[in-house]
Subunit: 131 residues, 2 copies
Amino acid sequence: MLEKSLADLYRGYIDCLNFQDWENLGTYVEQDVRYNGQMVGLYGYRQAREAEFRAIPDLHFDVQILIADDTTVASRLNFNISPQGMFLGLPVNGRRISFSENVFYEFAEGKIANVWSIVDKAAIEAQLSAA
Amino acid sequence: MLEKSLADLYRGYIDCLNFQDWENLGTYVEQDVRYNGQMVGLYGYRQAREAEFRAIPDLHFDVQILIADDTTVASRLNFNISPQGMFLGLPVNGRRISFSENVFYEFAEGKIANVWSIVDKAAIEAQLSAA
């Protein structure tokens, strides 16, 4: 049952992002959260997500695959979005692009403590060069 | 117990790769395996892995995170390797680079049927541009 509850908790986190419910982000994310090995903290984490929504007005997190054990969630997220200007160092400039992110979340006491994210930059490059 | 066995099966698959035990790859991988949505088949899958070991003599798969449910394995793999020549379109030319791959494997009847892989190309680019 613990596994199910971590998956449910994660879906709550994704809803929190999609609703831009920043006041409740701390329900899901630890104060000392690390992102790809770097301490960013809840405030930095929130700032980064808010900046993403400003740069990508149609940003939406869509879960394709979700598995969880007692301490860790793994998720494949799909995006079909239109980042303004540069995105991941690439001149996307408002084009609609589709790509995925494969990401692991290690939880501590019910909150996200470590995020290990990889975005499929190569897929975006392929779409830009095909244009 | 099923979960544990899928994780164990996956570790067998990783050993199979690290030992380059190609004759046994079909123990772990389906005939009709798909890679990032494309049908490659067991033979194509084996050819791709063999080509990687030729291009990367010190290739080694190292599991950092592994979680599994009844049908799916998620794994974060770490690499500390020296690809010869071009790698993912980047001029690595034998430099030692460290990066990760976050990858999902959907199983059917005990074999890998779908692979959803993302390699951290941005991390490699950062190492090359810092050189």
